[in-house]
């Protein structure tokens, strides 16, 4: 299974600090995506990184991918209280059309 493992499970920081979340997976992937979920809501796509890419940026988000280590990280810079949510990585493999999610990191940003 290419389901991801994320760490930490929970992260609590002060507003203005950076937050880093990590994701590891087991099999070859086509791409890796990061999603955000506010409590009781659906998932919102944040960023997609393909297997031949090493880094992508989107606003305050920076994602890295190391396929040799089968790992990815999501960095949120200058965090805000509104960034409080759960963040999930999701892997799409080459072999099939299903996307498998990690267990998520619960981020709390204190004002």
């Amino acid at each position: 299974s290419q389901q991801g493992e994320e760490d930490p499970q929970a992260l609590s920081i002060q507003e203005g600090e950076n937050a880093t979340m990590n994701c590891s997976y087991k099999t070859s992937i086509n791409n890796l995506q990061w999603y955000r979920q506010n409590s009781g809501r659906g998932l919102v796509h944040l960023i997609l990184i393909r297997s031949n890419e090493r880094e992508k940026h989107s606003g305050r988000l920076r994602v890295t991918l190391d396929t040799s280590k089968k790992s990815s990280s999501l960095l949120i810079t200058a965090s805000r209280a509104a960034d409080t949510a759960s963040y999930f990585c999701a892997m799409l493999s080459y072999n099939n059309n299903d996307m498998r999610f990690g267990a998520g990191t619960r981020l709390t940003v204190k004002p």
Partner: protein, 114 residues
Amino acid sequence: EPEVTQTPSHQVTQMGQEVILRCVPISNHLYFYWYRQILGQKVEFLVSFYNNEISEKSEIFDDQFSVERPDGSNFTLKIRSTKLEDSAMYFCASSGTGVEQPQHFGDGTRLSIL
């Protein structure tokens, strides 16, 4: 911005009954998905659907489950003979012209089996 809509937002059903969860994907999307999330747990893939047929399904998606696109806009998940452990949030998602594209999620249906 177009969005995926799901109805109802909350469904309460007696164990053993059948439920149908409804989704309206984004209109020009071609790939459709169902996921479930048991309270406090990870999001689990159930099924993907393309060109009017199932393209992938997980080990969770057994004979109790079925999906249908009855018309040009709706995408439904049917759960027959519901069990207590079917209680979860069920999310519908759609993506554009390829499975490699980002998926857009609805806000989910909370299914409670009594």
